[in-house]
Symmetry: C2
Subunit: 288 residues, 2 copies
């Protein structure tokens, strides 16, 4: 298992700067974001990571597949648009030879990420939203398979269930993945999202070869007002990493370990210092 | 199933005022809090609820059993003190003929509810904290059984795992309860805490006669800065209640349905208006 920088951790850096940063700090892999790839241009991004000899440990992200749960024409249009965007994401992941495309599946239909509940035009049908994700996966998995891309279902902490992901546990992600070949659909283990789960160790073992990505960052306490930014540098929060890292390794995962931190203070800091701290904490706090 | 007012919803009211309020609004049951019972005096509290002909649907709360996970003498003292306080809570529940004593089991050892992480003196050993809860239960369940009190294990939303409850899912609570007779240890289904759980319906059915209390309130989105106050009036948040209420009823639960809302706006409002709204929303939003 080798350390990878998810580029959202150093989001002040462009893709080109993040690639340089990885090389400068001796990292062998990088996790990319579609927004950053688009800014750099897809072809140029491919060229940069290849020239640097970096593996692309993941492309973030596809998903947001639940809006189809809205009634009538609005739902049908939203579902078609989401599938189209995800097919583009799969194409990009193929070009970049990313180890996987991370899918954040979306929240309750009509609830927009980080925004207050609308007065009307959303649904509380959680079971229905989850069914939409399974339907979308049936469309996307073969498309990904034909292009050699692995879709990675990411369960998000239940705090994000209303607006970002109705996929809330590793076990649930695993169930969704089972109808498909391992090389088409896997799961993400992100410590922030799953550390609390009483079934975590059982489900990590059960996931085995389905684990497509292992992402680490700490869970801050108390959470900041914008809960999206409740992620912290490993060691700054409440997560005990070694047992989780050991379980992921023992399940057979031999890919890269991505550090993905959304945190206002880290985003304001010098990215080179952030990467240096990541390397130290990875060794001291994350490894078993 | 009949509506019960958990008195923390109208916390401006003393116990005597809350009992009067229930009678005035035609409710047959009330959920009590130990702080309020202590203010009124235990004997007087018993007299008031009996004279009013109210059932006590629950006493809130015992628990906070994890501090024993701290090392050495500090841990042993904290564990002994927690057990002693819980025995007192059981005695009070027996006096009040409460249907159950709700247990909020506590967070990571050394992390105090609602407070920032201390610099030292806390542990990230989540598995150990969970083991302490099981140990405490082995001490307390027989004591409760001898006094005819049912302990009700309350799984809390994973957002409270660091500081309030390492018991995070209904399934986990159920597993903990299984070694004991149903009349000694049950579980709480609180919509706020469990609405997101992909295994909810399966675990509610599995719980059956173990369901000791059904508490309802909504899950607000976005959550306020103090996440403890993210509970809302039914209909104001993201929870679809009817399928959950139906599942709890179909599992055989025939007790009271407690409305327990921690919410700064509701606490500031006229309690009589709050209770009137609760009755209307219960009928329109909660019942299947």
């Amino acid at each position: 298992m080798s350390l990878s920088l998810n580029q959202w951790t150093t989001r002040r850096w462009s893709l080109a700067e993040a690639v340089d940063g990885c090389v400068r700090h001796g990292l062998e892999a990088i996790g990319l974001w579609r927004e950053k790839v688009a800014e750099q241009g897809l072809a140029e991004s491919v060229r940069l990571v290849r020239a640097a000899g970096l593996r692309v440990s993941s492309l973030c992200r596809g998903g947001f597949l639940t809006a189809g749960g809205l009634p009538g024409e609005e739902g049908r249009t939203a579902f078609a648009r989401a599938l189209e965007d995800n097919r583009r994401a799969i194409d990009e992941a193929a070009e970049l030879a990313a180890a996987c495309l991370v899918l954040v599946v979306g929240g309750l239909p009509g609830v927009r990420p980080g925004e207050p509940l609308p007065a009307t035009g959303f649904t509380r049908d959680l079971a229905g939203a989850r069914a939409r994700v399974a339907e979308a996966l049936a469309e996307l998995a073969p498309y990904a398979g034909e292009r050699g891309v692995k879709l990675a279902l990411e369960p998000l902490h239940p705090i994000y269930c209303p607006d970002r992901a109705v996929l809330s546990t590793l076990g649930q992600a695993l169930e969704l993945s089972l109808p498909y070949p391992e090389e088409q659909v896997g799961v993400v283990v992100d410590t922030f999202h799953v550390w609390w789960d009483p079934r975590l160790f059982e489900d990590v073992a059960r996931a085995g070869g389905r684990i497509a990505a292992y992402q680490v960052c700490d869970y801050l306490h108390p959470l900041p007002e914008d809960v999206l930014l409740g992620r912290g540098m490993m060691g700054d929060g409440v997560i005990g990493f070694p047992p989780i890292t050991r379980a992921v390794r023992d399940a057979g995962y031999a890919g890269d370990v991505e550090v993905e931190i959304f945190n206002a203070d880290l985003w304001a800091a010098d990215p080179d210092e952030v990467v240096a701290t990541i390397k130290a904490r990875y060794r001291d706090v994350v490894l078993p």
